[in-house]
């Protein structure tokens, strides 16, 4: 693993750093409030490593949820990860043993950076880059969780709104993709269908219908999407 690869991966992880530390802290604070120490925060952030699920998990822990309801809840909250794996089949090829960790650590944010296919100089190893980016991001997440659980509510400044950094990340990725790809049908379909599902199914239940709708629509418009990509 050469120095340039480490530098490049660290640079690419910077946009994630603030958001993960803050959201990780939020998780740590919630967990602490339910009587779990920072050691639990480390254990959960090491093994589950999924932002949304960990927030939901705090309530599952507090209420002593059953195995079945925990499994079902996790399936529903994290079903979108099925899609991330599909997009990484090609991108993670040739990673060897590191692919196991890369697939394990494929969060929304890591996915959004890697699916841009960031341009890398020739002396940077892409497999190492993918691996390190995933690792750096998980480190930020764990650090945030520990800080939150240790400091609890004693955050030294008003951090209201700091979690907007994740929204900002997705906006910038969206703009980047929009400019990179001449064919805007997938992006428009994604936005319209998700928004329609949000209105129909509500904020808590719209992800799974959106995913189903997006998959169907992408196949319905397949000819136009693929044709457009060749022409443009």
């Amino acid at each position: 693993m050469n120095k340039d690869t480490v530098k490049k991966a660290f640079g690419a992880s910077l946009p994630i750093m603030a958001g993960y530390i803050v959201l990780g802290m939020g998780f740590g604070v919630l967990l602490r409030a339910k009587g779990y120490s920072f050691l639990w925060a480390i254990l959960i952030s090491l093994t589950v490593y999924s932002g949304t699920m960990q927030y939901v998990g705090v309530n599952l822990l507090a209420s002593g949820a059953s195995i079945i309801s925990t499994a079902l809840m996790t399936l529903m909250v994290n079903a979108r990860h099925l899609f991330y794996g599909i997009s990484m089949l090609e991108r993670y090829r040739g990673m060897g043993w590191r692919k196991w960790y890369a697939f394990f650590g494929l969060t929304d944010e890591t996915y959004s950076i890697l699916c841009l296919d960031p341009e890398l100089p020739p002396n940077v190893n892409r497999a190492d880059f993918n691996f390190l980016l995933t690792l750096f991001n998980q480190c930020y997440w764990i650090i945030g969780g520990v800080l939150g659980a240790v400091l609890a509510s004693a955050v030294p400044f008003n951090s209201t709104g700091l979690d907007f950094s994740m929204t900002a990340l997705f906006v910038s990725v969206f703009v980047e993709q929009w400019e990179k790809n001449k064919n805007h049908i997938p992006a428009v379909l994604g936005a319209l269908i998700s928004f329609a599902c949000l209105l129909i199914f509500g904020a808590d239940n719209f992800l799974i219908p959106s995913m189903i709708g997006i998959s169907i629509a992408l196949f319905v418009f397949r000819k136009r999407i693929e044709g457009g990509a060749e022409n443009g």
Binding site: Q54, A71, A79
Partner: protein
């Protein structure tokens, strides 16, 4: 908190189900990837980032203190800034500072 043993079981179930979801495509399709899956893998990122954006903004409260203004202004700022400078860090930093200022100082709840 519930007892240690039950806590560990709940954590293990969350971890295993999440890992299974993340690895399933690999186990199903890594050898002989069907063309339809390859196609989906190529075009999904564009649709999914849009979905994540809707997901992030789903909590926008148009009836609340800010009437959605902090979200609209900050998202627009990030989009314009990013189109102009193409610097992810700058876009995120400016957007977040703008949003925090709006929700804390301009539209406190």
């Amino acid at each position: 908190m519930v007892d240690v043993k039950q806590s560990l079981i709940i954590i293990a179930v969350m971890a295993l189900v999440t890992l299974a979801l993340r690895l399933l495509p690999y186990f199903l399709f890594s050898k002989n990837t069907p063309k339809a899956v390859l196609y989906l893998g190529n075009v999904l990122p564009y649709a999914i980032v849009a979905m994540l954006l809707v997901y992030c903004l789903k909590g926008t409260d148009f009836a609340g203190a800010g009437h959605g203004v902090p979200e609209i202004v900050s998202v627009t700022l990030v989009a314009i800034l990013h189109k102009w400078k193409h610097n992810t860090l700058l876009s995120i930093l400016a957007g977040t500072v703008c949003y925090m200022f709006l929700v804390q100082a301009v539209f406190p709840s």
